[in-house]
Symmetry: C2
Subunit: 351 residues, 2 copies
């Protein structure tokens, strides 16, 4: 294609800069919109044009990365986040910090709630891409591979939060759900508890719930207990449903002396349910939460729980995602630490 | 302009249909994008073209309403909502219902949080318009007139929720914040309370907070008390800050026997603060909330509060906004009823 016309660099481009979308468009004799389309939706371009453009792309050494960088010049300064739910404030605090950090860098945040439904999340990913989001924040790593393929085709910078998994396909700024729950369970076992119950969120499609369960089981195995003996109830993250779960757990032939809850919301429901049954917490039953939401300090007694650094996670995720969007790097994962907060709902077992 | 060329109707348009964007574009000899620009961003079109297009618009009897309807054919099926905060779940329940109802009609919801900052809200309105939202949901009626002018120029359907004000510029699906608080205060006075305190959200830019204060004052005046004697503290909607406010109120020379809180979040903070001071609630001090969030049932004793029909409000707002977007009507206001929920924090004053 070099025989067609000389490749001119954009007059505005500094000598050493990467080729721009303009350069490719000029070289191919098409509009920049056509070049964009060839790179992002090649099916929508006639083959002859597509070939011409792709030859210019090649001749100029224009790569998808460069394309992403050039398209960044048309940035909308809008970041999308899709969270599983807006209720219960589980994601609220981290998201607020995420938004504040974005705003300090000139970005507006648009949030969508998938209601823990993978189909809804898929629609929302497409909607946010179609609305021109510069980058996306997703929660957790469990989703169909074709979604990741789609996001790659779109050159969309995507970061995961709330779940740090080193080997995952996307970079993540999060914490080790497995390790956090294993540490809590080890602590509970060290107090002498042997009959353990767990009220977990629904694990399907939710890697945080899944890994928290596995963390509990790992600690049980390590402590010489049978992981299969864990009295496990899975339920939506709602106060009312945890109240039902605790009733069911306490109806077991040998009921637990400690119930590990997958979130503070579930622990609050378990606490209320136990108290309604006349069970003294923690005298007769220990209950633990997860998240360290404001809720955990409001109930009586206040919850022993796992502190998740929500604000720090939101802030770090914003910084990392902006670095990705502005093309400075492909996205680096970051693991944040959690720790146990001892309040009023965990003591050694009675008798 | 009829002398320039005959006005042809689009071959696809049924005989009786309104003129389409295509019709205008053909008549003016420009692209549909240019017509759109003339209607939506006339500053970005050279005067000669603009005049040509506006003549076609006029000749075809094409009106901004028709324009809106035609542009609706390019609907993005995306609705934007801007809420003051994502923390504390105040707006979460209503928004979840709003989203579910939108989804049933094929619309995706994108949410932004203004952090109670009018400047941030303004940026977010522009971002959602720029991202192609089909319609917007805003909270409350207090904002600069120029924002309403801008939204009108953009032909953007906008509905307000959480605040029903009949004479307001935008249609609203909400409740009567003034009347709800007046009714609660009347009830408190009927129990014999005479020294009343109030912990309110910050009223600047927040018509809900402002009208709740005025509702309390109206009931005091009606009950023969001096509204100026209301012991009022304004504070952000946070548990911790309400804890400080109750300490300050109880330090008054003649402290209140009942403290009316502008939200459940504030009431929970007041309750914790009072209990930390060794004050028995409701034995020595009555406290009331507003919203009837889950929080109000979780604390001990559970809060007497005002029930706001959050889910119904979200659902109704979605239905109304979709009707507006789909061009069937300009938007009708709807007032939803609130009522007092008597739980454990309000009794007649001691002695």
């Amino acid at each position: 294609m070099t025989d067609r016309k000389p490749i001119r660099r954009s007059p505005r481009a500094p000598a050493n800069s990467a080729p721009t979308l303009d350069d490719v468009a000029r070289a191919a004799g098409v509009s920049t919109a056509t070049v964009s389309r060839c790179l992002n939706a090649p099916d929508r371009v006639v083959p002859a044009t597509r070939e011409k453009v792709m030859q210019s792309v090649k001749a100029l050494g224009y790569t998808p990365n460069f394309a992403a960088r050039v398209m960044a010049a048309k940035r909308t300064h809008t970041i999308g986040a899709i969270i599983p739910t807006m209720e219960n404030a589980i994601f609220a605090r981290g998201l607020q910090a995420f938004q504040e950090a974005l705003r300090n860098r000139g970005y507006t945040l648009l949030v969508s709630s998938s209601m823990y439904d993978p189909e809804v999340e898929k629609e929302q990913i497409r909607a946010l891409v179609a609305r021109g989001a510069d980058g996306l924040l997703l929660i957790g790593h469990t989703r169909e591979a074709q979604i990741y393929d789609y996001l790659e085709q779109q050159n969309m910078p995507v970061l995961v939060a709330w779940s740090y998994i080193e080997e995952a396909r996307l970079p993540s700024v999060g914490f080790d759900n497995f390790g956090a729950m294993r540490a809590l369970t080890e602590h509970i076992l060290s107090l002498g508890h042997r009959r353990i119950g767990m009220i977990s969120g629904l694990r399907a499609g939710n890697d945080r719930a899944d890994r928290r369960i596995k963390g509990v089981q790992a600690a049980l195995a390590q402590g010489g207990l049978d992981p299969a003996a864990l009295m496990l109830r899975e339920t939506p993250y709602e106060v009312e449903s945890a109240t039902l779960s605790i009733t069911s757990l306490m109806g077991e032939p040998a009921p637990p002396t400690a119930v590990i809850c997958g979130s503070d919301v579930l622990a609050v429901g378990a606490l209320r349910g136990a108290q309604a049954m006349g069970i003294d917490v923690p005298g007769q039953l220990s209950i633990t939460g997860f998240d360290d939401m404001e809720l955990s300090r409001i109930v009586t007694p206040p919850l022993t729980t796992v502190h998740v650094p929500h604000r720090e996670m939101g802030r770090s995720a914003a910084e990392e995602l902006i670095e990705m969007v502005e093309g400075k790097r492909p996205g680096r994962s970051k693991r944040l630490d959690t720790y146990i907060v001892s309040r009023g709902t965990l003591t050694p077992p009675a008798g």
